[in-house]
Structure formats: C-alpha cells, structure tokens
C-alpha cells in the first residue's frame, strides 16, 4: 500500500506548477548570484579587495570548490528553508479546503500511511531542490572554470564531498518542512502554515539569536541549537566548510556544534515535527 500512496503523493506534487516553479526560481537566483560575483571578479578595478581575497573568490567560483558552494544557497538557513516551507504548506494544508483529504481517508487509507506518504513525497521534492542547486551551481561554475582555466578539472572533482554535501543540505531542509507540516495539519490553512514557517525562518530564529546574545554569552550558546545555525554547522561536513564555520562564528560570537551532532539534531527536529503532526492528525475530526 505505501508505495502506491507514495506514487499518488508524488503525482500530486509533480503535477503542480509549484514544485517546478520553485526549482526554476532557485536556479535563476543561483545563476544571478554567480553572474553578479563573476561581474565583480571581471572588473580589473573598482573594488578594494586585496589580490589574495580576489583569488580566493575566483577559487570559490571554480570547480571543484564552486560545485560544493552550491549547497550553501539551498541549505535550510538560507533560500532552501523558505522553499521548503512553501512546498510543505501547499502539499499538506491545501488538501483541506479542496476536501481531498476527505476523499483519501474515506477510502480506507490509514491516516499514518497518508501522512507518511506525504512526508516521503515532500522529502523527495526537497531532494530535487538540492539537486537543482547542485546542477545550476555546477553548470555556471563549470562555465566560469572553462572560461578562466581553459579546461574542466574532472579528475579533481570531489565526488564523495558532493554526495555528502547533497545529503547534508537535504537534511538541513527537513526541520523547516516538518514544522510547516505540523502547523498545516493543526490549522488546516495554507496561509497560516506558510506564514508561521516563513516567520520562523526569517524572523524568529534571527531574533532569538540576537536576544540570546544580548541576554548573556552563556545563554547565546543555546542559539547554536537553532535549526539555522545547526544547518551552518552541518555544512561543515563538507570540506570547504572551514571558512563557513569561521564566518558564522565571527558573526555569532560562539562556536558551532560538531557537524555530525548538527545533522543528528536536525533529523531529530524533523522527526519531532512530523511526530507532532501525526499527533494532531490522528486526533483530528475532518470536517468542512
């Protein structure tokens, strides 16, 4: 039964413009960011960066590092989190006003299987978003590499790092999606679920870090366990992350948790959110 339910959920999701639209927007944004950076690098003058910094930027734009940098755009604390929220809200909450949740449940589909199939389809869609970032980043940085070096260093490609980066970036999206799934089930409203998800991602997390920092440095350490900072920490699983770690630590004034622990905690948050959604869904009267 579960494979059939998963195929139904996937068909519902892939039949909508939303998923393909999100992938297109993500690709365009990544493309735009890279083109802007390339434009800066192409100018012989007009910026105050020292030559070493410029060379570091060029390296970051070229294969192999350029390929791995794509993951930073799509992680949960960045654009990816926002896309995950919108996708999750649409996939879950819109079934209520459309009365399609009634249709499946009244046909003997178990509530647990229904929710799990939805979560699995959503997770697969998030994987597609990460893949989009990798492919777009790969193509544009590949073109830049070809332009500046005259060839592509296929032999230097860090395949293992790419797989790891893919998995880590995907894991960083899950807490945002599962929080939104929970709110969507609880409120049955796409608008509220999207609002809460985006509000949390854009406002609450940042505000929490600032407030905790103001309160005391010790309390601020708690902020390390917020999903956005865990996402940053998790990305240190990928080799280029050392710079990322340094940058984030500088702005947040504390050290991030270990990447392995960060991934485990992110998965824990995702499971907690899904568990909460299940708790709400199993008790729910499907009315309206």
């Amino acid at each position: 039964m579960f494979p059939r339910l998963f195929s139904i959920e996937w068909r519902k999701l892939s039949g909508r413009m939303l998923l393909w639209g999100e992938m297109a927007v993500l690709a365009v944004l990544i493309l735009a960011i890279h083109i802007a950076l390339m434009a800066v690098l192409a100018q012989p003058q007009g910026h105050d960066l020292p030559p070493e910094a410029l060379e570091a930027m060029r390296d970051a734009m070229r294969w192999p590092q350029g390929l791995l940098n794509a993951f930073t755009f799509v992680n949960g604390g960045e654009l990816g989190g926002l896309f995950a929220v919108v996708l999750a809200a649409a996939l879950v909450a819109q079934e209520y006003p459309w009365r399609t949740v009634h249709v499946w449940l009244s046909r003997g589909v178990a509530r647990g299987s229904y929710l799990l199939a939805k979560a699995a389809a959503l997770a697969a869609a998030l994987g597609l978003l990460v893949l989009t970032a990798l492919l777009t980043g790969g193509i544009v940085t590949g073109a830049y590499t070809l332009h500046t070096l005259g060839q592509l260093p296929w032999g230097e490609l860090p395949w293992g790092e790419m797989v790891r980066g893919f998995l880590v970036a995907w894991i960083t999206l899950l807490p945002y999606a599962s929080l939104t799934v929970f709110v969507a089930v609880l409120t049955r409203s796409t608008l509220i679920a999207t609002g809460v998800g985006l509000g949390y991602s854009l406002l609450v997390e940042n505000l929490a870090v600032e407030v905790l920092l103001l309160a005391s440095p010790d309390l601020a350490r708690v902020a390390r366990f917020l999903p956005s900072l865990l996402a940053n920490a998790a990305l240190n699983f990928v080799e280029h992350g050392a710079e990322f770690q340094a940058g984030v630590a500088q702005t947040t004034q504390f050290e991030l948790v270990e990447p392995g622990l960060a991934c485990a905690l992110l998965l824990g948050y995702a499971l907690f959110g899904l568990g909460a959604a299940w708790w709400a869904f199993r008790r729910q009267d499907i009315t309206g």
Binding site: R4, L5, S7, I8, R11, K12, G15, R16, M17, W98, R99, T100, V101, H102, V103, L105, S106, R107, G108, V109, A110, R111, R282, R283, Q284, D285, I286, T287
Partner: protein, 245 residues
Amino acid sequence: MTATPVLHLEKLTKDYGSVRAVDGLDLDVYPGECFGFLGPNGAGKTTTIGMILGLLWPTRGRVEVFGQEVTPMRTAALRQVGALVGAPGFYPYLSGRANLRLLARLYPQVGAARIDEVLALVGLDASAARRKVKTYSTGMKQRLGLAAALLHEPKLLILDEPTNGLDPIGMAEMRRLLRELAAQGVTIFLSSHLLHEVEQICDRVAILHRGRIVAQGPVAELLAQRRDLEEVFMAVVREPEAARG
C-alpha cells in the same frame, strides 16, 4: 431481517462541546438495500456519515462496516465503500480524468477502461473529462464525484445529497443510475432532504431530527397511513415541534 448488516451503527453519539449533534443512533443497513437517511438541515446526517467514513471521532458508540469496526484509526473496511459526501473533493489543477486516474492508483484492479466506463455512466464526455476540474460547474463536479465513488465497484455506496447542483435532467439520470446500481445488488445509503427522490428510490428510511432517529422503517409501511414521505416527515418532525410551541 436476519442477514448480517452491511452497515451497523450502535448508540452512535457525537458531541461538539456542549452541543450533541448525534444522539445514540442505532441503525442497520442490509445487503442490497437502498436506505434513505432523511432529516432537516442540521439534523446530524452529515455528522453521522462523517463517523461512518472514519472522518470524525464518535464521542460514544460504534460503527461497523461489513462486520468490521470503523474509527478514524481503523478504516480498512472502507476500501469496499464508495462515498460522495457534500461538495466532492478534487485537485483543481488536474483534469477530471487525471483525478480519477490518481484515485485509481489505490486500486490495482481499476484500469483505463473502468475510468472510461464510470465517466460514461455519469454522463461526462471525453472533452469534459479532459478539462481541468477548476473549470467545472457544480453539477459536473457532482457527476465526477459519483464517478469517483463508483470507480472501484464498491459494495456499499454512501451518498450525501448526491443531486446537489444537478439540473432536473441530471437529477433524473442520477435516480436512474441509483436504481440500476440497487438492481445490481449494490447497497446504497442515501442521505437527502429531497423526500420525493428518496421515496422513489429507497426501500427503507430513517428520519433523523435533532440527532435522533424519530422514525424508521420500510417506505411502504411508513406510507400506509400517509399520502407521501413529505407527510410522514412533517408528522414526525414538524408536528411535535408545533405541539411544543
């Protein structure tokens, strides 16, 4: 009747806060029957159907379908049930046929031929089936809802106001279809406030008022003392209210 009921409700009760929507319903529907479930608006018909279909948690009581208990967490018996409840739910961005194809993925035995068959049964032609559901009229959605309910050849059909939104021709076609299905041995549980419609189609009826069954029995028996179901309905629903003042 001595046969095992297809649908069995026992002391079924549903409270919304301090409001009792359904109050201790006892009811049996037997194989091959067409059972009319009547009541004025707000009588508790849709709430009862919601509990039968595992959408609502009963406050008390029990629902059995084909001898198996049904609750929102135990719905396996509903795989043999087809339902059309209120405004039918569809994915507006998919065509009518694509919606049915999506539902058909639940049932390995349902193929493209069956989809064509049910579309023809409810009078949706190929061009209508190709259109996205968001362009459908209420009547077309209702027809598609019935097609969806019939898709997997259910043994029990639960219909809540199935003629809503249909024009007179559509209503007549729906009645004819229901009669044909009943003749084929499909058990039908038909909730409606159109008394004439129920009188024409159903073998037995129950009249629900303020969450309670106030009359129940074969249509012929109820009509023995009255001219039509409307009179019966008025007698059991309106007259006691009038007497109470």
